[in-house]
């Protein structure tokens, strides 16, 4: 309460519940002060009906003298003037006196009360010591009180209270005071509850009657407001507010029902035309003026609403809820406007604006009045709505009264202004002295244009301050563009265009115009208008550079040829697809694309490299040479939000060291960094390009290379423009695109994705490649000559000079033609080719071919198979085994033998000869072997087809090189022609028949014809195949002696060792040869061994012989052997070793095993020397057992080295000799053993 008491306007102080005082007035007067002070000091709990929450309440009262007029008459429901309690005061302590006067007075008082049905009364008896002292014959104090209680309070003894010595400061007095006050409060509350309850019941009854015809809202309003007043009086503002809210809701409901067609009669009074629009009045607690209007039923809707709101406002401020006031005010204002429309009330045009404006300001003033500045600022969000509304209304008033227009107000405007001002009425007395009252403000604002502008900050643009306006518009435009609100963007741009036109910012204006001309949100007429603006400016001198984005969008770019890589001199065409955004066809004088030129590529890189590089280009690398430009660029028209920034284009980058291609570094590269990393405000420059940057860029690129297209008409929509690219070797990147319309240039400062093309220059090149996988020797093979002409143009008469070799003649074919291909692979031309051949050279005259074409033709060549099997490669020995030496150029997997054939070619473009190696493969591999069957000998030749081709083999023939009469080769082959499939073999067999003696060496030649199976004419295609070989023979003479050897008897054995071949050079190096008297000899050790114990060797079983180094040198050794068994015994084995003397450096690093062997052999030799005479028959094993310990190990030992397998041919191998048994002893011997 304290807070409110400080407020300037405290309405409630006048209204307190009325308590009447009867009886001793002087007594009451003496007690009044302390009573009025003490009554509100303590709060009481107020229990209420209808389940409403109990409240603590501080009671105050207005004590008035009792008069009969105060008591309410029947039917008067005024609660404010209703006495809630009647108190009778007396200090009578004398029975006589009581009986004489006081009792009668009390009775009269009581009867009056009863007459009016008031039962809320209290009798206070004040006792004082002073009085007691004066009166000696006093009755006991209680007696008076008892009497009163007896007389009046028959059942309610609490209606009589004793107050003892109220003016004294004693504990007794205190106690009696507090008891009295408690009683007083209780009774007051009881009275409230009872009376208010009755009132509310009455009120509800009245409300229920609202459907009856005679019901009036105004009457009801008064009744319920009475209740509200009482609550307010009791400081129950919340409850009071509820009453008003109920009234508000009820009224609103009626209005809505009216709108729905359910009109009530009483509403008619609210439908009268509004005559006054003086706004809300919130400075008085109760606007009695309006209240009376309502009471009389003469209030208009605005009056009622104003009054209702003023009451609500007052209560809300008491409740410390000023912000609710602002919120409710805004709702109220909107609502009132709505309701007036709904009720179809006639309102002078502009009157409502005045009313709303005044009301807004009034509410704001009221709020400012009860809050400090800091509070206001903190809660500006609550007041801003009102301010906006007021501004809006003032603006519309300004328009209405002709105060905003550029011209002065017309008389009609002035009339209207006067009418509006008249409706405001006189200024209220409360605000007359205030300089800032809403009334004064409005009055002043409407009085003149200047004043209006002072009050209403006109939108800067309208009033010729386009500079500031442009700034604001630019700000809002940015936010709209960033957030992608296309309609707003268009609208703001339109406003901006106006500003810029006024400011004569030509460039900006044109840019904005261009954007607007391409804006799909505008009508075609508007767009044409802006387009025309550009064209108008285009014809005037200053050159202006604008962003291309507004003018046209790049859609795609297509290269022809699609690879975007051409050679010097070729035509490269670029087809640019542009979507023109202008509404009309635009004549573009020149569309130029500036190029960035770099020499980095050049001819050396060749096509493959560049193609590969292009493949890595990502978006550009579409195979058809089409570069698509991303569409949703932020400037592609409004509607693309900031969220639609181009996506990151990341590429992996690997840096490999050039030497060993190991990875040195790797990373990720962002390709479109320039789009992502640009400053944020620079994005706006796309809309309004800054003056400095673009023209400079244009100027720089003037000197650079350009692709130009002149005099183009760009139709609205998609257009296709052809550029022809200049051709100098190098790499070109498109940088900028610039279209000129008169003096206006539209510049696209970046072309993204990167568009590149390359022009290269190439040296002529000749390649010769086999048509098939492998070239086969022996049959005609086709090879392809490919000439990439490069920058060289093949003239008539140019010829290729091929130097002939015997081993590879070039076959002539009658119809020889060449194919000419253009570099794009498009054209195929057949040109005749003439080949002249002389002894040394073959000359191929080439058809004339333009540069950068490919010339292809085929020639047949034949590589002869060398006649002999290549001697160094294959060693053939008499035993028929073929020994392979490691070869450099034997086909690793198939075992094919290849022949490298070098061709030397003189090309017309070069002074140097070109050497080209062709590798041919021999299709066959031949082997021979000698087969024996008894005494018959056969020669078998195995011919293996190692190629992948199937052949026919014909006429296999085996001949001797030096035909001897004694020798006859008999063919056992049946077929003359047979197929040899790939990887298969054919065997041919000949029987050898001879008359003795056999020659030591037999040179044979195998020849056959072959032809591929696929060849059509078999006989002509057959090519000879020759295979020559040599058969050598080693001979050991059969042992001499008895044809009929007998067991146990000694027989002679002659060992004959014959050198068959001269040692090859390689062998010579290995062998130790010694020269004895001019005769070169090699030492050879022989040993006769009989492992099967058939023979016993008598005497020396081994020895060293010196063999002369000459063919057919023979050494004969006589030995004695004794057969141990009878029967056909095989000849004893004879082993032959190379004998290396001790001083020879061993060719092979001896290991421990070989050393041991040497030891043993030398030991054997020694033993043989010692025991040579004894000639005792010993087994082979006994020789070993006689190993003497005194052998000196320290001496350098001679070495034995076995011959490689096949080097020694045992003539007597397999021979047998018949041994006859001698006697029965032998049998016995057998038995013994």
């Amino acid at each position: 309460m304290e807070a409110h008491e400080e407020k300037p306007i405290i309405y409630t102080m006048e209204n307190k519940p009325i308590v009447t005082c009867a009886g001793d007035q002087s007594l009451f007067t003496s007690l009044y002060t302390s009573l009025a002070q003490q009554l509100p000091r303590e709060s009481m709990e107020w229990r209420r009906s209808y389940g409403r929450a109990p409240k603590m309440i501080h009671l105050e009262a207005n004590f008035v003298q009792f008069k009969e007029e105060l008591l309410p008459k029947d039917g008067n429901r005024a609660l404010l003037t209703f006495p809630f309690l009647h108190i009778y005061w007396t200090d009578c302590c004398d029975t006589e006196m009581y009986k004489a006067s006081v009792k009668d007075d009390m009775l009269r008082w009581q009867s009056t009360l009863r007459l009016h049905g008031s039962v809320d009364w209290l009798i206070v008896v004040v006792e004082s010591e002073a009085k007691k002292k004066n009166k000696t014959n006093i009755l006991p104090r209680t007696s008076i009180v008892d009497k009163i209680r007896n007389d009046f309070c028959n059942k309610q003894s609490d209606r009589c209270v004793v107050l003892s010595d109220p003016l004294k400061e004693s504990s007794r007095s205190q106690d009696s005071w507090s008891a009295f006050l408690t009683k007083l409060r209780t009774l007051l509350l009881m009275s409230f509850t009872k009376n208010l309850g009755r009132f509310e019941d009455d009120m509800r009854t009245l409300r229920e009657k609202r459907t009856e015809p005679g019901w009036s809202f105004c009457d009801y309003f008064m009744v319920q407001e009475e209740l509200a007043f009482v609550f307010e009086m009791l400081q129950q503002f919340e409850d009071a507010l509820v009453q008003y809210d109920e009234l508000d809701a009820l009224f609103t409901q009626y209005v809505l029902n009216f709108g729905a067609g359910d009109g009530a009669n009483w509403l008619g009074s609210f439908c009268t035309p509004v005559k006054r629009w003086s706004g809300l009045l919130l400075r008085r607690p109760i606007d009695m003026e309006k209240r009376e209007l309502i009471q009389r039923g003469e209030a208009s809707l605005l009056d009622l609403r104003s009054y209702l709101f003023s009451r609500q406002c007052t209560l809300l401020i008491f409740l410390q809820r000023p912000w609710e006031v602002t919120q409710r005010a805004l709702e109220l204002l909107h609502n009132c406007v709505q309701e007036l429309r709904l009720l179809e009330v006639y309102v002078v045009q502009g009157a409502l604006d005045c009313w709303v404006f005044l009301s807004c300001l009034e509410v704001l003033h009221r709020i400012e009045g009860c809050c400090d500045r800091a509070q206001l600022e903190a809660n500006c969000s609550h007041t801003v709505g009102l301010w906006t509304y007021a501004t809006e209304k003032l603006k519309s008033l300004g328009y209405l009264c002709g105060l905003v227009a550029e011209k002065v107000p017309t008389s009609e405007d002035l009339n209207r202004t006067v009418d509006l001002l008249a409706g405001l009425g006189e200024e209220r007395p409360e605000t007359v002295n205030s300089l800032q009252s809403p009334y004064k403000k409005l009055n002043e604002a409407l009085s003149s244009v200047e004043a209006f502008e002072k009050h209403y900050l006109v939108s800067a643009m309208k009033k010729g301050d386009p500079e500031r306006a442009e700034g604001f518009l630019d700000d809002s435009l940015r936010s709209y563009v960033a957030e992608g609100w296309s309609l707003q963007v268009t609208h703001t741009r339109k406003q901006m265009a106006e500003c810029q036109k006024l400011l004569q910012q030509t460039e900006d204006y044109l840019q904005t115009s261009a954007l607007l001309a391409g804006d799909a949100n505008l009508t075609v007429e508007e767009r044409k208008h802006f387009c025309q603006e550009i064209l108008t400016f285009a014809s005037q001198p200053p050159t202006v550079a604008l962003s291309m984005a507004a003018f046209a969008q790049l859609r795609q770019m297509q290269f022809s040829p699609p690879g975007a890589v051409v050679h010097v001199g070729a035509a490269l065409q670029l087809e640019l697809r542009v979507r023109c955004l202008m509404p009309v066809a635009m004549q573009v004088e020149q569309l130029a694309a500036t190029l960035h030129f770099s020499l980095e590529q050049g001819g050396a890189r060749g096509r493959a490299g560049s193609a590969q590089r292009r493949a890595g280009h990502g978006p550009q690398g579409q195979g058809d040479g089409v570069v698509l430009f991303p569409q949703g660029s932020p400037l592609a028209g409004a509607g693309m939000g900031a969220s639609l920034l181009p996506a990151l284009e990341l590429y992996e980058m690997q840096d490999r060291s050039p030497s060993d291609s190991s990875l040195t570094s790797t990373g990720v590269v962002c390709k479109n960094m320039h789009l992502l990393l640009r400053r944020h405000d620079s994005s706006a420059s796309l809309d309004t390009p800054t003056a400095g940057a673009l023209p400079a860029a244009v100027a720089v690129d003037d000197g650079a290379q350009m692709l130009r297209a002149r005099d183009i008409t760009l139709q609205p929509g998609d257009n296709s423009i052809l550029f022809t690219a200049p051709v100098q070797p190098g790499s070109y990147t498109l940088r900028q695109l610039c279209g000129s319309v008169g003096r206006v240039q539209f510049v696209q400062s970046h072309i993204y994705p990167v568009v590149q093309y390359e022009v290269y220059s190439q040296e002529p090149q000749l390649t010769i490649e086999p048509l098939s996988d492998n070239l086969l020797a022996g049959i005609p093979q086709k090879v392809t000559f490919t000439i990439a002409t490069g920058h060289y143009s093949v003239k008539k008469g140019d010829a290729l000079q091929l130097s002939n070799t015997d081993s590879m003649p070039i076959l002539h074919s009658s119809c020889c033609s060449a194919t000419v291909l253009s570099s794009t692979g498009g054209q195929h031309l057949w040109r005749a080719l003439s080949i002249q051949s002389s002894e040394k050279v073959t000359s191929i005259s080439l058809p004339p071919t333009p540069p950068y074409h490919t010339l292809e033709f085929q020639l047949e060549v034949l590589c002869h198979i060398p006649p002999t099997p290549f001697k160094p490669d294959i060693e053939r020995l008499t035993n028929g085994e073929v020994r392979h030496r490691p070869k450099n150029h034997s086909h690793a997997d198939s075992g094919m033998i290849n022949i490298d054939q070098k061709v030397s070619i003189d090309c017309p473009w070069s002074i140097y000869s070109t050497l080209i190696a062709l590798t041919f493969y021999v299709p066959f591999k031949a082997r021979h072997s000698i087969l024996s069957a008894g005494k018959r000998k056969y020669i078998q030749v195995c011919l293996q087809n190692v190629s992948d081709t199937n052949f026919h083999l014909a006429d296999p023939v085996l001949t001797e090189r030096q035909p001897t009469v004694s020798m006859e080769l008999l063919s056992l082959n049946v077929k003359t022609q047979q197929p040899v499939c790939s990887q298969q073999s054919v065997f041919c067999l000949w029987e050898m028949r001879w008359a003795k003696p056999l020659p030591l060496c037999l040179h044979c030649a195998f020849s056959a014809s072959f032809a591929p199976v696929s060849a059509s004419d078999t006989h002509t295609a057959f090519k000879p195949y020759r295979y020559e070989f040599q058969l050598d023979r080693a001979e050991i003479s059969p042992p001499s002696g008895d044809q009929h050897c007998r067991t146990g008897a000694l027989c002679g054995l002659e060992v004959s060792i014959t050198r068959q071949a001269e040692p090859s050079e390689t062998e010579g190096e290995e062998e130790e040869s010694t020269e004895i008297e001019g005769l070169r000899t090699t030492k050879l050790m022989y040993e006769v061994v009989d492992n099967s114990s058939n023979w016993a060797v008598c005497g020396k079983s081994s020895g060293v012989v010196s063999m002369p180094v000459a063919a057919s040198a023979t050494h004969r050794v006589q030995m004695e052997v004794m057969p141990l068994f009878a029967g056909h015994l095989p000849f004893p084995n004879i082993k032959v070793f190379k004998y290396l003397p001790h001083n020879a450096v061993p060719a092979i690093q001896p290991d421990t095993d070989s050393c041991l062997e040497n030891d043993t052999i030398s030991l054997l030799d020694k033993g043989l020397d010692d025991q040579g005479d004894t000639a005792s028959i010993r087994s082979r094993g006994s020789v070993h057992s006689v190993g003497s310990g005194e052998q000196q190990r320290g001496l350098p030992m001679p070495r034995l080295e076995p011959f490689s397998p096949g080097q020694v041919f045992y003539w007597s191998q397999g021979r047998q000799v018949l041994v006859l048994p001698v006697t029965d002893d032998h049998v016995m011997e057998v038995n013994v053993t």
């Binding site: 709108g259 909107h334 639609l644």
Partner: protein, 169 residues
Amino acid sequence: MAVCIAVIAKENYPLYIRSVPVQNELKFHYTVHTSLDVVEEKISAVGKAMADQRELYLGLLYPTEDYKVYPSHMIIVYYTPVCMFFILIENILLYRHTRYGYVTNSKVKFVIVADSSNTSLRDNEIRSMFRKLHNSFTDVMCNPFYNPGDTIQSKAFDSMVSAMMVQAS
């Protein structure tokens, strides 16, 4: 009842906006755009309390009274934390059941502008409209072919919005 329905992305650009009287689209766009400031203010003012309550409905945003063409409009804003997942129907179920775990606060805003001369419109009707809008929006989000952040071009969504607008008139 609704004259304009808009879905606004977190970054305040329109994902979807449609208004019934086509000729005055700009005005609605402005209205919706302006309302975003108020939304922001409301969200930031309420702050955490709001997130805890999970109350998406911001209530009557601000009323305007315009006497020129359209008498007045009520702007109501629905502020939604919408989960952003792109795939699979199971996820929808997860979303329904364990809402807390999967919801990311995407700050997508729904704005409905209603004709305030239509006085019969009640608060819970608006709420149910928003609920429908939200469900439909969630369906759009669940479309694996929808790229979050793109403008909504779903026919289903469109027809749902149309239905709400037709209901109005």
